[in-house]
């Protein structure tokens, strides 16, 4: 009896000691399965000739060849390039400008900051819906300007295949530039007062202080903001769907909508998987070095 009691106690202690691992293990296993396992599945399917149904016989890189000979894919990549470079550049510029301005001991800073940042709380579908209404050529901005006296004003970007992608930039900048502002403002606030004092003693004016001293110190903040915005850009799907639906035609397709359309509307699993794998590789190329350096920095 006594021996059994001891055994039970020892078992409980051993269990207790292992409990942290026992708690983490299923969560870790789930994420291995649902992240890495699923990535593996998608990558595998991209190497088969799967069409409507998955087909598990490997056939090599045929789907990638097909993907890269689909004109629509080039439109999607071109759009992603135009969209992300403009979106990142403009959001970054607005973010820096607003952060520097807000850093000048502004009255009611809290209220202003709240106003700048609230679009981030909205769904991209909501943002898309609003801008779709404001940019529509019939009753929106175009008519507003015409009513103001410029009778011949034309602003039909939303329905113009050549310019529709720029309306996505307009809406995305509206939604996310406040986020860039918040990241920069946090960065500015973390600059040591000593640095500012030294600058003042050297007689540097406000312009020189910012361009010559403070902004260079904030280079890491620039880097992480660019990476966050790039990550947002590559994943953007909802905004395009809500604003233009990928149209006119497929003029505003991006890789995310391309993949969705091939997977769920055209049922070409192989091409869809190949395009998803291309997206993943792009994100990995950007995110992994960043995560690696961030984790090493914070480390232990």
């Amino acid at each position: 009896m006594v021996k059994e009691g001891n055994n039970a106690k020892r078992l409980r202690q051993a269990l207790e000691q292992r409990l942290p691992q026992i708690v983490v293990a299923p969560l870790f296993a789930a994420s291995m399965f649902f992240v890495y396992g699923f990535i593996g599945w998608t990558a595998y399917i991209s190497l088969t000739k799967s069409g409507v149904m998955p087909d598990y016989t490997l056939t090599g890189i045929g789907q990638y060849v097909r993907l890269w000979s689909t004109p629509r894919w080039y439109v999607a990549i071109g759009n992603l390039f135009i969209f992300s470079s403009l979106f990142i550049a403009i959001a970054l510029a607005i973010g820096v400008l607003l952060a520097v301005l807000l850093d000048q001991r502004v009255r009611a800073e809290g209220v202003i900051r709240t106003i700048y940042l609230y679009p981030m709380a909205l769904s991209f579908i909501v943002t898309g819906t609003v801008w779709k209404w404001m940019l529509n050529p019939g009753l929106g901005l175009e008519r507003l300007v015409r009513q103001a006296g410029w009778e011949n004003f034309r602003f039909d970007w939303l329905v113009n295949s050549d310019y529709a992608i720029y309306t996505v930039v307009i809406a995305a900048v509206w939604q996310s530039s406040g986020y860039a502002m918040a990241l920069f403002l946090a960065g500015l606030r973390s600059v040591d007062d000593e640095v500012l004092r030294a600058a003042a003693i050297d007689g540097a004016g406000p312009w020189r202080t910012y361009t010559g001293i403070i902004l260079p110190i904030l280079r890491p903040v620039f880097l992480s903001t660019v990476i966050i915005l790039a990550h947002l850009a590559i994943k953007s799907f909802d905004l395009v769907i809500a604003l233009t639906g990928g149209g006119p035609g497929y003029a505003t397709d991006v890789p995310a909508t391309f993949m969705y359309s091939f997977a769920f509307q055209r049922s070409e699993l192989g091409v869809a998987a190949a395009s998803a794998t291309m997206m993943l590789m792009t994100v990995v190329a950007i995110i992994v070095p960043y995560l690696y350096s961030e984790l090493r920095k914070t480390g232990r």
Binding site: Y116, I125, V126, L183, P206
Partner: protein
């Protein structure tokens, strides 16, 4: 003294200075308008009649306020072929968001706690591997997840969506709690361990109560992410089980009949209201979530 020397750079004195201040506030004010105008347009359009929208201008305020568009958006707008309004879909979103937020936050807290306060070999590697899941483009898991949900009998259901959001939210919630627990001193927990408190005892009685700020940040972050999600909703649900974002998109893009911009705007506000309310009430925590999402240690 120190304060004044800094004042010297950021606020020089004189006429030039006051001019600059006026310019500063002018620019800040213009940007306030830039961010606010879409919201104002959204609200004022939703309160106009269709007649007034056609005749008036985008920026004009409603001459006669009517809530007809709101009523229609809530209970009569057509989502595809069904014309019950957004109400059932708002309910879907609530049913999906509440459990998904709760489960993913609880599991993230436990995971973050085990990974930082009961350090074992490989804990850092495990965290790094899990963290990657927060950054993958979800397109890469859509196809296998659709099949998986089918196999589990959860295809097209709200429990299926809860499952998906929990699984892919875990990376973020773990990140938030890990970062929070890194800043909590080990001393108290060591003391509790010495006193013979168990893993779960420490977690529920000591760690959870003191991680209230982290819980608030995580809950707000998860709530915003899951409520606003569109990709999983559109890929994994059909018709009746759509979350509100998908239903909103269907309302707006229903091509039959007259385009009712006032109903579209009312529907958009209904879909946006919960996350906007959270932002207005707990903005500070929302901002902290955003900067934690930037993987700052």
């Amino acid at each position: 003294m120190r304060q004044r020397s800094i004042d010297g750079i950021v606020r020089p004195k004189g006429v030039h200075h006051s001019l600059m201040r006026i310019l500063l506030y002018a620019v800040l004010g213009l940007f306030c308008l830039y961010y606010l105008i879409p919201l104002i347009v959204m609200i004022s359009t939703s309160l106009k009649s269709l007649e007034e929208i056609r005749q008036g201008s985008l920026l004009s305020l409603p001459r006669s306020v009517t809530f007809d568009a709101w009523a229609k958006a809530w209970s009569a707008a057509c989502v595809g072929v069904r014309c019950n309004g957004l109400a059932p879909y708002v309910w879907n979103s609530v049913l999906m968001t509440a459990p998904a937020v709760f489960i993913s936050t609880l599991l993230g807290a436990m995971n973050g706690y085990a990974l930082t306060k009961w350090r074992f070999r490989g804990a850092d590697t495990i965290f790094a591997l899990m963290l990657f899941g927060a950054f993958i483009p979800f397109q890469v898991i859509l196809l296998p997840m659709a099949r998986m949900l089918g196999l589990m009998g959860l295809a097209g259901t709200i429990p299926g969506l809860i499952f998906v959001h929990t699984v892919y939210g875990l990376a973020f919630t773990t990140l938030f709690f890990r970062n929070f627990f890194m800043g909590v001193s080990d001393g108290i927990i060591q003391a509790a361990k010495v006193d013979g408190a168990s893993f779960f005892g420490i977690f529920f009685r000591l760690v959870l109560p003191m991680s209230l700020p982290a819980i608030v940040v995580t809950v707000i972050w998860q709530f915003t992410q899951i409520w606003n999600d569109f990709l999983f909703g559109v890929a994994f649900t059909i018709g009746d089980s759509n979350p509100v974002t998908v239903a909103l998109n269907n309302v707006v893009n229903t091509s039959t009949g007259v385009k009712e911009y006032n109903v579209d705007m009312a529907a958009a506000i209904i879909a946006a209201l919960p996350t906007l309310a959270v932002y207005v009430i707990a903005g500070a925590y929302f901002v902290r979530g955003l900067s934690a999402g930037a993987v700052k240690g």
